[in-house]
Symmetry: C2
Subunit: 472 residues, 2 copies
């Protein structure tokens, strides 16, 4: 697995070979016997525990190094973990020593060494270097040094910033959350139905749609939600979900907004608003539990997350009505009036009273989307809920029971001035065997930000897209 | 879980209640005692086996019905399966009998009945009707009748066509394939990294990009691949993948093309072209095995797939070089010349010799993308592979080792006339610790079409987008 077609140098005998000066700057350059190279097993850093006392090869990048002048410590990362590789000048000889001292941050290399358990070492294991192959040199110009950089600089170098341990940890938590979501739904009989991104005309709010020309068919829009399509699929398959990228051409510059983000949207036939909240709290409890179980080291050691704030996230979650929320906010001096939507600060205030996410239910009709079902107990409101995360992370879920009455839905579409012809197929779902159904949308980045304790959601996606950024 | 705010009718006593004529046409209308309704457990059709001898309620839609004049057979579907519910005129009484006879296709209903095992019944179980709630009536105008419709008509009614058993089966296989892919990769330490859809300038081939205005930053393009971003992520995390929608503004009207489709793209650090093919064949073998294990009824009973054609799909898969493929095709009378790309017919011819997918390796440079690594054994070619499915389903995977040499990559970018400044970050990956790496793209719809034995890939996605279609 050496890049082919590039000259390699092997010593004929002895553990460390003399370096051929002309080879410097070319790669790969191998220090160590060819026998050693072919005999040692290549392993991932996360698997070192199983190889104590053996000679193995690790492939990765140089994250950091220090040298006492006689002993060099290389910190090597491979995506699965970090290991310290140690070589003393006396053992490795002058030539390899010169290379060890000259290695630049992010050089790629294959290090062969014997594995020792060492509690003081990062990750708990250490490699005693017996050979090293410099695969891809780096340069002193490597942009991201081990110091503070401004966020614009880091975002401009996101393709390299991703290699930082903190970013690696966030990506691993995001992966675990994603897999936990899919496992949870699969095990409960939900069918993943991928809904389209290119859509004819429908979304949550016009004016925040990205547009593209679609052959001879006119303008297409990038979907803001898959929900309406999910509703059609729920009539076919019962319980479904979509989970993909979602687009909002919003001019929002807050720590909770991206123009492209991932959203999970389950939709359930024969499920009312209460059933909907039960699924939401079970799912969120499961996600947090999986992250605590399988990403504890990333959360605690790398992200320094106070996991005691996540431990209580177990269903049932408290439920308060919108009416109660408004009363509570007014009692605390807020100027909110019945009918207003809740702002981020309002949400934070409500969340402060609870050690786990809190449902706020049944908002005024005017504050919510046209497809939500009228609340029979108070027709000024709809059967919906937001789920507010603790610690000021805000809304992570919005859910509702859907209007299943043809006439009421049609008049809501007309009230909102939406293009009726584009909703013909959506109305069909109420003409032919309408059924009670509910669903919700969970914002992946906001959920990951909360679990990781990350302030701004731009760090929770590999290549964030914001008002000012589309590169790299 | 009844739609709230709608009048229900319950009889005071007796099993079947008299119908109140004014209620006809409103819903839900319940036939049966309220006690029965609250006592019977609501179950999914797929769970009926566990309830033989019990009275249960099933919620779903009327797929079909027939009546002898004295016995009515309702075929009810709920997304998890299909069950026959049987009621005789003598047992159910005239009023319910009238309703049973008047039910339209796709009416939504809750049927209560006792579960009997019956080998002759579809699914193996039958319900003897004791009560029925008509939740949402349908109409004799229901567009999709149990007869042949033209494909344009069906696509225009895709939101309803999805309810047909064949479409439900395909969606369930797609879901299983998707989950199998994610399980396979998760268990092998791959990290899911979602790559952006909105991108600055890069893709496989200009001229087939959808464009959108991006605030003050000019034009953004919808991504044709996540691979280049994956390569950055692989240097951070080792083994990664993206799996999301992909866009091609191609004017192709073939059974293998959509303008929006889902693609899985793994990318692996320290993996060469041979390693890449080993991962591909293991993955494809695993996917097919999972579908055979968990979707056998859908494949055999509904889709009538000849699964004996899938059983041999076990690694290793045969490998032939592009050179060998051209010789073979020429020997069979093809006019192909060395340097030409293979067409769909060529692929089918090659695949005919094998009972499992076949790799075609190391194509001419000119036929493939700029980022593929030059083959050191024959620099006219690159280290790549296509994977061709049997039975004429064509290419399901394209993979390659990536060019890891800065200078060679830069000259390829210049040769192709690509905008160099847009690839600055991509070239950085070769400046700072370059590393051997490989990856591939698997087309989800083509894979599902092959496994299901479906002729046209438009049936393998819920809402297909083609040159002529963006509705519903």
């Amino acid at each position: 697995m050496t890049p082919s077609g590039v000259v390699s140098t092997f010593g004929a005998r002895g553990r460390i070979v003399a370096i051929v000066p002309a080879m410097l700057g070319r790669f790969p350059v191998w220090f160590g016997t060819p026998e050693l190279r072919s005999m040692s097993e290549t392993v991932y850093i996360s698997d070192l525990a199983a190889h104590v006392g053996e000679e193995v090869t690790v492939q990765g990048w140089l994250y950091n190094k220090r040298s006492s002048g006689k002993i060099a410590f290389l910190i090597v990362r491979d995506g699965t973990g970090i290991v310290q590789a140690v070589g003393s000048k006396g053992d490795v000889g002058d030539d390899l020593w010169g290379i060890l001292e000259g290695l630049e941050y992010e050089a790629s290399l294959r290090v062969t060494g014997s594995v020792r358990a060492d509690e003081r070492a990062p990750g708990g294991y250490e490699l005693s270097i017996v050979g090293l192959e410099l695969v891809g040199p780096s340069s002193e110009d490597y942009p991201i040094q081990l110091k503070e950089h401004g966020v614009d600089f880091l975002l401009e170098h996101r393709h390299l910033w991703l290699r930082a341990p903190r970013q690696v940890a966030i990506m691993r938590v995001r992966d675990e959350v994603t897999k936990a979501i899919r496992d949870f739904l699969y095990e409960r009989g939900f069918v993943n139905v991928d809904t389209p991104i290119l859509t004819g005309a429908i979304g949550e709010s016009a004016g925040t749609l990205f547009e593209t020309e679609y052959f001879d068919l006119g303008t297409a829009y990038l979907a803001q939600t898959g929900q309406l399509y999910n509703e059609a699929a729920a009539a076919a398959l019962g319980r479904v979900y979509c989970f993909g990228p979602t687009f909002r051409a919003e001019k929002s510059k807050t720590r909770r907004h991206l123009t492209e983000f991932w959203m999970l949207e389950p939709e359930m036939a024969w499920c009312d608003s209460e059933c909907n909240m039960e699924v939401q709290e079970s799912l969120v409890g499961y996600i947090v539990g999986r992250a605590l179980e399988r990403c504890r080291a990333d959360l605690v050691d790398v992200l320094e997350r106070d996991v005691s704030r996540l431990e209580p996230v177990v269903p049932p979650f408290p439920r308060i009505s919108y009416d109660q929320a408004v009363e509570k906010l007014q009692a605390r001096g807020s100027s909110i009036e019945w009918g207003d939507d809740l702002g981020a600060e309002d949400e934070t205030l409500i969340a402060e009273d609870h050690d786990r996410p809190v449902f706020i239910c049944n908002y005024p009709k005017g504050a919510k989307a046209f497809y939500m079902k009228e609340n029979p107990d108070d027709p000024r409101t709809v059967l919906c809920n937001d789920l507010i995360a603790p610690e000021g992370y805000g809304e992570i879920i919005g859910g509702s029971q859907r209007e299943d009455d043809y006439d009421r839905l049609l008049s809501r579409i007309r009230e909102e001035g939406l293009p009726e012809e584009a909703y013909g197929w959506y109305l069909d779902l109420r003409r032919f065997g309408t059924f009670p159904h509910s669903g919700f949308g969970l914002g992946l980045e906001r959920t990951v930000a909360w679990i990781c304790g990350v302030h701004h959601i731009r760090e929770t996606i590999a290549f964030p897209r914001t008002l000012n950024r589309i590169y790299p």
